[in-house]
Symmetry: C2
Subunit: 282 residues, 2 copies
Amino acid sequence: MLGGACTYISLAASYFTKVSIVGVVGEDFAQEDWDLLAGRGIGLEGLEKAPGKTFFWSGVYSEDMNDRETLRTDLNVFADFDPKLPESYRSMPYLLLGNIQPALQAKVRDQMDGARVVAGDTMNLWINETRDDLLAAIGKWDILLINDSEAQLLTGEKNLKKAAKAILEMGPNTLIIKRGEYGAVLFRDDYHFVAPAYLLDRVFDPTGAGDCFAAGFMGHLAAREVDLTDKSLDPKTLAQAVVYGSVMGSFCCEQFGVERFRTLTRAEIDERYREFQGFTQF
Amino acid sequence: MLGGACTYISLAASYFTKVSIVGVVGEDFAQEDWDLLAGRGIGLEGLEKAPGKTFFWSGVYSEDMNDRETLRTDLNVFADFDPKLPESYRSMPYLLLGNIQPALQAKVRDQMDGARVVAGDTMNLWINETRDDLLAAIGKWDILLINDSEAQLLTGEKNLKKAAKAILEMGPNTLIIKRGEYGAVLFRDDYHFVAPAYLLDRVFDPTGAGDCFAAGFMGHLAAREVDLTDKSLDPKTLAQAVVYGSVMGSFCCEQFGVERFRTLTRAEIDERYREFQGFTQF
């Protein structure tokens, strides 16, 4: 079915702000998938259609949903992807780089020199195999989103606070460490915020939850026109963005793949945000 | 060194309320340990001194402090312990049962028929080996404190919400599921509250942290004279108690064994409580 970081991010962020994507699909990309994205108002000028098949991934999750094993990865048209941003994208203020090779992330980032806030996701594969590229890329980001085990891998620090400190010295002024079913922590030099994950009766499919988290977080920053270098920035705005991230991650897990986004409404998002207030405020 | 659930609980709870303990030590129990407890105003009338040696435990923790392996457990005087409550204890309103055999917990609980709130802790050993005794004991408790893997073991449910629902049908009206470095969740039929753990630069020794959590939680309930069956009870009071629990657990980890309680002040506790507000409120 339809999947991929770009898909999850754009669908989830579309509830907060106008989103445009850059990516590549093959000739097999279904019209109904194109329509789903367009139906959420997502700008598709940068979505290239190339000869061949679309990237494909499949995997199985462990019974507790905390681990997954890749069954198959076919790069297909993605193997030769060379992202070129449409002219209309270049002045957009918020850039979120999904989890791909750091060198490709850097290529996109360099085409958006004027961006107010640049955020990026990464994974153990790039930390292990393209560490230098990754460090060079991260050095030009405002926000790094990473999970806890990857933060350890990147820094060699087992302690979360120490790992965070080390990452904040790599360039980003804002770090989000994702902890799966336990939530997420935002770190800045002078502030941190800890959000739990929403407790679901059933985690149907966690695929894309991290991307949807990033989308909710970044979507809220964009909606509020946040400048992370603004000295008068209220850190509570960042905390609220983390909670919106958690909200979007939780919805993602409720159905298979991107299915939940076929029916999700902004009212449901705001209702769940209020639920977060109810079970975290004292 | 000095240790044990009763020690950690009484030291931590002594910052919130008047505490008296029931337990047994051997002839080797040091005067300075007795003095430490007495110095915190802890009632020791129910602390029996029996011929033989005090209970002894030693273990090693994994590098990430999330697992531990027992090296040695000597029951010593604890093998024949038959808890008898002093007459002066029997009218006390709050009872917290440390993690021992459920049959012993039940014996103490039955001697305090008039208690307003009864809470108890347990572990995998009793779930596996004395399940019937445990279920009988829990049936007479208002609050069960248990960690997440033990909640799964007790109920057979991997999903936290479903496990919680199953436990609330076993008798307690309030359940706390401890998640170690990820915090704790309080469940009631119509309310739940999720608290993160405090992020420490260094977890020096997590021994006793769960007991100190229980002590901070129960200590705050006692200080506020909470009745869990009172329909007008503000659930925020329970949330505040969970946060005090997390605060006390975090202090416990800062030094080896009970060392932190030699210098800890109520002002430090209240300062850390305010820190929790800072990193959880949005």
